[in-house]
């Protein structure tokens, strides 16, 4: 039977990390524990030595959080956001977008979705202790993907006048779509 100290630690891993990461770390902890048992330590001493060698739960969770692919992806999307934003803002001003026949509800919905995505990315990018918060990067990335795709589609089919700035903004969005589409499936499993 495994020591209650180890069982409690493993429960903590499963509570705070995705299943695959928790399982891998738990296997490593059990291996460390068994190593000390095999070296002749008693159950309680082996558990305490294993936990000391493994690192406390907060440190291990923080390390997984700090190195999570979702955190880096959120930072990348946030970093490229201003570039895309400036391109689109310039294109829409030059194209006098306020005169386009787009219903106010769609404009508001687009703005609200963009705000939601930025908040989600910021929460994921700055997370230091919570792996769960990093999962927001996946949802926010999906929203960004949808917004970029909507913007590009609108330029292709609805823009009355395709200026070079508008084409540049669409190209930036296409680049982000490619990067996001490649990154999102990996985030879904980690």
């Amino acid at each position: 039977m495994t020591s209650p100290l180890i069982t409690r630690y493993v429960s903590g891993l499963h509570r705070r990390l995705p299943a695959a990461l928790a399982e891998e770390a738990a296997a490593g902890l059990l291996e460390t524990y068994e190593h000390h048992l095999a070296a002749g330590a008693g159950d309680h001493d082996a558990a305490r030595a294993a936990l000391a060698e493994f690192g406390d739960l907060a440190t291990v969770v923080d390390e997984f959080t700090r190195q999570a692919p979702g955190r880096r992806a959120a930072r990348l999307l946030l970093a490229t956001g201003p570039v895309a934003g400036v391109c689109w803002a310039a294109a829409l001003v030059i194209g006098r977008a306020w005169t386009w026949p787009v219903p106010a509800t769609i404009r508001l919905g687009f703005g609200a979705a963009l705000l939601l995505a930025v908040v989600g990315l910021a929460a994921a990018a700055t997370s230091r202790h919570s792996y769960r918060r990093i999962r927001l990067a996946w949802i926010a990335g999906l929203i960004i993907l949808a917004l970029d795709a909507t913007a590009v589609t609108a330029v292709l089919f609805a823009a009355p006048d395709r200026t070079w700035v508008l084409s540049l903004a669409a190209a930036v969005s296409l680049g982000r779509i490619a990067v996001t589409a490649r990154t999102l499936p990996r985030l879904a499993t980690r």
Binding site: E24, G28, E53, G55, F64
Partner: protein
């Protein structure tokens, strides 16, 4: 002297890649290889090895697969071709750096 995680910052990736050069290993074995290979100077908390290996995997430098042994699933890591190239580059850079530092700290008489 025992080096902590902070002292290893910037070198950990290379050391992890080097520990896999001899063949596939799971996280605990990687940690033990670092500890024994360094004469117990690099004795990192075992739990911090796993996130680092996952990051190297996401970067395409190592490949991880689940394997079952003794009724327990363990994730085994091995170097990818990109990982081998990175290790070779890091090793060459380290040799250059170390020889330059040695030349300054221990000048020939």
């Amino acid at each position: 002297m025992r080096a902590d995680a902070q002292a290893l910052k910037g070198h950990l990736d290379t050391l992890l890649l080097a520990s896999l050069e001899g063949g596939p290993r799971h996280g605990y074995a990687v940690k033990e290889a670092l500890r024994s290979g360094s004469g117990a100077r690099f004795d990192l908390p075992t739990g911090t090895i796993y996130p680092a290996l996952r990051r190297l995997e996401a970067a395409g430098l190592v490949a991880g697969t689940w394997a079952e042994a003794g009724g327990r699933r363990r994730r085994i890591y091995e170097l990818t071709p990109a990982g081998r190239r990175r290790l070779a580059g890091d090793r060459a850079a380290w040799r250059d750096f170390a020889s330059a530092v040695t030349a300054i700290l221990e000048p020939a008489p």
